[in-house]
Amino acid sequence: MRILSAIPTMLRVGFSSAVAYRAEFLVWILTTNTPLIMLLVWSSVAREEPLGRMGQEELGAYFLAALIVRLLTGSWVVWDMVFEIRQGEIAMRLLRPVHPFLAYAAENVAALPLRALVALPVAVVALAWLGADQLSSDPLAWAFVPLSIAGAWLITFFAMAAIGSLGFFWESTLSVYDLWLGLFFVFSGYTVPLELFPPEIGAAIEWLPFRFLLSFPVEVMLGLVDRSAMVTGFVAQWLYVVLFALVAQAIWRAGLRRYAAYGG
């Protein structure tokens, strides 16, 4: 654990790196506009009468919160890993006395201030437009917000790291990621608030990992879940964090063994 002392420097250098790529970064962030389109779609439907308990304002708050969570939990480690494995550059990481996951994580987290910079105006607009009424009034919920966002980020990161590690075995790993992303779009609440699914399906979706990547933090932020559902959701989320971390590490180790047997 001595290596933890390296983290501040890793974060600082990662931040400089993100700043060096700020133009690309901005474009990438701007491509995250699906929640805004979905906001228009759903609120145009809810104009005459609310969908269940969600009226136009609730849907507005939902999708703006979804946009903020998505901006804060983004990661790109899967592309980096696939690229570096294919190009053999992964060797340079393996030579360093620090687990590559930690290095990748630092690079991704370091970009957070830039992401927050974009997320902030969204939050301001949302507050100005909808007021604070839409937000949860439970202080306990607000204690859970950062934790649930951190959990969402960790699941995203480890899922990507697991898929990226498959790159040791197979060149077309990004197709697997596409599959994951497709499921994410449908089942995370990114395009459809999960409570609008027919109840029979909704109950199942609630326990898939995807909800904990996006919908869950949003629900906590907006007070859409009561305290007990919040606590069970939180436990489930962090169990997924542990599960994905273990899976990622297992695939990584298997991949490394294969890499060491066949070479890059």
Partner: protein, 328 residues
Amino acid sequence: MLSVRNLVKHYRVHRRRPGLLPALASVFRRRYTVVRAVDGISFEIGAGERVGFLGPNGAGKTTTLKMLAGLLHPTSGEISVAGHVPFRRERDFLRSIMLVTGQKQQLLWDLPPAETFELNRAVYEIPRDEYRRTLAELVDLLDLGDLIHKPTRQLSLGERMKCELAAALLHRPRVLFLDEPTIGLDVTMQAAVRDFIREYNERHGATVLLTSHYMDDVAALAPRVIVIDRGRLIYDGSLENLVRQIRPDKRVTFRLEGPLPPVEWARFGASVVAQDEARIQLQVHGGRLRELVSWALGQLPVADLVVEDPPLEEVLSELFARRHEEGE
């Protein structure tokens, strides 16, 4: 410092004929061929030695270096580097070695090298004042000056390689593996890198194992060479001995002041390598050199003469050619 015993690395290569059907068939039954990249080599290198690692393309040099650096797992055999088994990739091991290759880089592309240095300081846990001292020394030795504050992408290939070396040496590795460190560099830059490596080795007593296509690198840097071919060790010893053993002949070049009369060079056992109006270069066995030179000085319009060993490239290609003829 570094010992290798009966090192073997075999790859099983999956053979597949092109086309969709064979691709499908291969899902069920795979055919493999075994490639013996490294086939039982042993050597020892003492602390502070500089050793050149030679062999034709595909001889197993890079594979061996990767095994020594812990990137590849040997099929069998034992390796010990700085008291560690490389493939365990223990932190202390990783902190005492470094691999520099001319083709892959660790510098962050869009940031100045100084940022990568700083990152390495943290990752290798180098104490601050030691880091400052080492960095100052490296900047001085490599003549880096302000380069380390320019974004890497703006540096020339040579400048980048120098910064790459600095990044690799900040943690003062005790063992340094260099894989084609001068590839693509111009002649002056090659010489600069070469001088630096020797200087670094002499100052800090680091063990250096180097592969290079440029024989000048090896000739200038490595008193000892290990030659492998098709995964097997075929020579381990001083460079001087290797040359003497394979090619006992010398090259003599005469600069001429006037036209050359016809000469029967064969009577000295010599042959003409190159000739033009002003110069003639001959190849002659070391034992008859004296005889030839004294005759030529007496009989021919010689202005000047130079005696050299044959180029290392030729020595090596002859070594490999001989082995292949012997049916190995």
